[in-house]
């Protein structure tokens, strides 16, 4: 990273803290899930005491998609009571996904939106850095939800557009697509062979909401649970296609992957596929039906004999 | 042969206990193993169907009956469903015996009360036969067994046999519903029947097995009847994989059910953290 300038303070933080405090004081919600500054950088924080709302921060290190805590599988979070969630434009799309799939009710959660100008690739930094092409999360480039509409509150001033990363995800997908088939196979099987099957990708995904994941089904055992390349390929393909048209590109799966599998390339490719075939772009409009589970009589079928 | 490799057994008998519970009799394929295999009442093993995997149950036959072992299981999981498909002559893998046992030898001269619910009779059956095969070493034997319905009673032939013996007090209880109007045994949950049967606690031990709720409700009743905590025995079940104290999933706090159990006294149970 060449430019290590710190980012200017986020102007909406006071509003963020005030709204959070008011929500707790009024008893509208029982817990605020936002970001705090900790030993290793920014991280999620759960605040139920109005006096503690001053812990809340927002800056370029606030990478996490906190919508994952809304997931109905999180019993221990649900026990805390009604939640107010701090969300960026990208995160809100995941809330829309949960609404679309009837996993939460709109009244079950208060959304405190933050106007975001892009985030860093990593949160574990002592201070927020100004974004540069080298350090910006590549997914932020071309963000189409910088003025979220689904939120209950929206704080912060309009932010500048995130910088273009050294290489965009689209360019990387295109680079892969331009390679011969055998090269792509070699690339992906090598990547998947690193997988240790911790399922961090699934656990942090705000939209992996199945009561029982296919990988846990044993009758029959569809996906082998040993971390060998064969089982890993099945798992990674399945995870990806189960999110086709649902993935909101928050990048959490890739960020949490302890062995660095570039999952965002797969996710982005799937976004291209559903866009090209079904003209679908994931948005924060819960009424916009997801492409898988829907159909048109005249869908493309050039691959079918 | 490493510790995870199963011994091979051949299925020699299949008995349907209820609509979903089945007993298999298994004979070790290797003659030396068949001769030397020994276990004690309460121990368990890892039974496997090749291609499906391993599942944990107690050895349901008595150590006094040599040459074979038996297991009883309900077909509800991956392995048990496959195990239900095996026929006489098929191969089943077995690792064991593992875990501790009921200290039957320490009970000489004492009265013994058995309380079991549903398929929980399997581990108890092993002890019952162990005791009955050495009948004159023990005092009074009382068996209180309950199941949801007459249909759900397991080991029906043996229940009859025990019931007809003069040296065993056998009490069976079910909720007969309307389907079995000629039911002559007790009616209702097993716990009040234990209370009603009121075995005397003096110089006696009790063995309680069944679904967690049966164990949970019966222990206080036995305490009321005067049984000391260290005279009441039960077996705990937790999900297990290795059975050898390595794979790390069966522990309740510092207690490894596969090694420190599966047999525990009520006194030991009271020491366990509430996580089972």
């Amino acid at each position: 990273m060449t430019d290590m300038a710190t980012a200017p303070a986020y102007t909406g933080v006071d509003d963020l803290r005030r709204i959070a405090r008011e929500l707790l004081e009024a008893g509208d919600v029982r817990v605020i899930i936002g970001y705090e500054n900790a030993r290793r950088g920014a991280r999620p924080v759960f605040i139920s005491d109005p006096a503690e709302t001053d812990k809340l921060i927002f800056d370029t290190r606030c990478v996490h998609n906190l919508v994952t805590y809304l997931n109905p599988r999180r019993d221990h979070v649900a026990e805390l009571g009604k939640i107010a969630l701090v969300v960026k434009g990208c995160d809100v799309k995941a809330v829309a996904g949960l609404l679309r799939e009837s996993q939460v009710g709109r009244d079950d959660v208060v959304l405190i939106g933050v106007r975001c100008g892009g985030v860093l690739e990593e949160n574990e930094l002592p201070a927020a850095l100004a974004l540069t092409p080298e350090n910006v999360a590549p997914r932020c480039y071309g963000c189409d939800n910088r003025e979220p509409t689904l939120t209950d509150h929206l704080v912060g001033e309009p932010q500048p557009e995130p910088p273009r990363p050294v290489m965009t995800i689209d360019e990387r997908v295109a680079a892969l697509d331009g390679q011969p088939m055998e090269e792509r196979w070699a690339f992906w099987t090598e990547q998947f062979s690193k997988c240790v099957r911790c399922y961090a990708c699934r656990q942090v995904c705000p939209l992996c909401i199945c009561e029982q994941c296919i990988v846990e089904k044993t009758r029959p055992q569809w996906i082998e649970s040993s971390a060998h390349p064969r089982g890993n390929l099945s798992w990674n393909i399945t995870r990806a296609i189960h999110l086709a048209g649902r993935c909101v590109d928050c990048g959490e799966c890739e960020r949490f992957c302890p062995v660095g599998i570039p999952l965002s390339l797969l996710n982005r490719k799937l976004q291209h596929i559903v866009h090209e075939r079904y003209d679908y772009t994931v948005s924060d409009d819960p009424e916009n039906a997801a492409p898988i589970g829907d159909y048109r009589l005249d869908d493309q079928q050039e691959f079918i004999k | 042969m490493n510790i995870y490799q199963p011994l091979l057994t051949t299925v020699t008998e299949v008995v349907d206990e209820t609509a979903d519970t089945r007993t298999l009799r298994l004979e070790f394929r290797d003659e030396a193993v068949r001769k030397d295999f020994a276990f004690r009442a309460g121990q368990f093993g890892e039974y496997s169907v090749f291609g499906a995997g391993e599942s944990t149950f107690c050895i349901a036959s008595s150590p006094t009956r040599e040459g074979y072992i038996e297991c009883s299981f309900k077909a509800i999981g991956k392995v048990t469903s496959e195990l239900r498909e095996v026929n006489v002559g098929d191969t089943v893998g077995f690792r064991g015996p593992y875990g501790n046992w009921f200290p039957v030898d320490d009970w000489k001269g004492k009265d013994i009360v058995f309380v079991a619910g549903g398929i929980g009779l399997a581990p108890v059956r092993c002890v019952i036969w162990n005791v009955l095969d050495r009948r004159d070493e023990f005092g009074d034997v009382t068996i209180v067994y309950g199941a949801r319905s007459v249909e759900d009673l397991v080991y029906k032939r043996e229940l009859e046999e025990w019931g007809s013996r003069s040296d065993v007090k056998m009490v069976t209880t079910v909720d007969p519903g309307g389907d079995t109007p000629d039911w002559t045994g007790e009616v209702g949950y097993v716990t009040p029947v234990v209370e009603k049967t009121a075995p005397k606690a003096d110089n006696a031990v009790a063995v309680v097995c069944g679904p967690p709720i049966v164990v949970k409700l019966t222990l206080p009743v036995l305490e009321q009847l005067g049984f000391a905590d260290d005279a009441v025995f039960t077996t705990l079940e937790n999900r297990m994989k290795c059975g050898l104290g390595k794979c790390g999933r069966c522990n309740i706090g510092p207690v490894y059910v596969c090694k420190d159990g599966p047999v525990f006294t009520a006194a030991q149970m009271k020491q366990l953290p509430p996580e089972f």
Binding site: P138, C198, S264 | R249
Partner: protein, 381 residues
Amino acid sequence: MSDRYFISDSDLRGLAADLLGAGTDVIAPVATDICQSPSAIAASACTLDHSLVDIDYRALTDADELDLSRGLPQLSLKGYFLPEHEALCRWKQKGITVEVEEVPTEFAPRVVLAAKACDAAALEVVDKVMNWDYKDELWNGRREATTIVNLTCPMIDDSCFCTAVGTAPDDVKGADGLLTPVAGGYVYEPATDKGRALAEANKARFSNDVEADTRGREADDERAASRQRVAANLEIDAESVRDWIDTHFEDPLLSQLAIRCNGCGACTSVCPTCHCFDIVDEQEGVGRGTRRRCWDTCQAPTFTLHASGHNPRDDQHVRYRQRINHKFAIYPLKFGEVLCTGCGRCTRVCHAGQDLVEILQAIDIAARRPGDSAEPEEAAS
């Protein structure tokens, strides 16, 4: 302290080359990264800028791959002793009967160079559970076949805390010898017969010329300095932590500390001491298959799920408590050792911010407040 050798930079590489030449597997830190991977297209498709260079223990194919200049390997040495998956036996259907084939429990000798002390120490800790009653031949076979040489660790970052859990960056626990960097090379101190045999068998690479007042002192100073650096990160009283956890099973502090946890198993996968496993049957084509053991994680709900649907650990903070409990109370009570060597990987891979350093500090503070387990203060850092 009795015998010390000097080995130069080039001789260390030469030693790796000699071993490889003799057909011995050499496992050592190697720079890995999708941008340097053998597949030609990786460079153009690399997305993870922040992980451009990573390091991992790999079997060397060439002595030049040995990379001692970087930080902590992504995964610990665990996988070389308890592989992510390994065959326990193989079976084949023959008509209605089945034949079972054994797997070997003897392994070819191999050498680990430049292991981190935390990773080697973890092996000795896990030895206990692998041998407390039944002996795990697969684990033991690999342990016996392996000579491990540590490299004194300069400390990775402020999430290192080996000194707080009974080991040290220059420890030889679980290892057979120790290299400590000095000017121009390393001081090598064997700790076991295996470690001495390595130096004896490769005499040409080692020299006995280690003067106590120069190179020897340099090595001693380096070791002491690195111990001091790590000790500044975290100091706890492991015994009172153990006793507190053991006696505060339902203390709300533990569930409060688990609140961010997503329940992914990343921490257990990267942990050098987490050894829990699953046993599964997998088919290889038709009528044939392998019984395998593979890594499992206590953070998954299915880990303890009964067939009946009952789950003794049905909530994420209960599963998190199990992990803390197993490491800092259950294992010490049962085996006399903390099931943690302070490598800090769990903290580094947890992007949700579950921070073991902070958690241990919080428990340590609670444990020092006698007879009280009320509202915990977040530990000051």
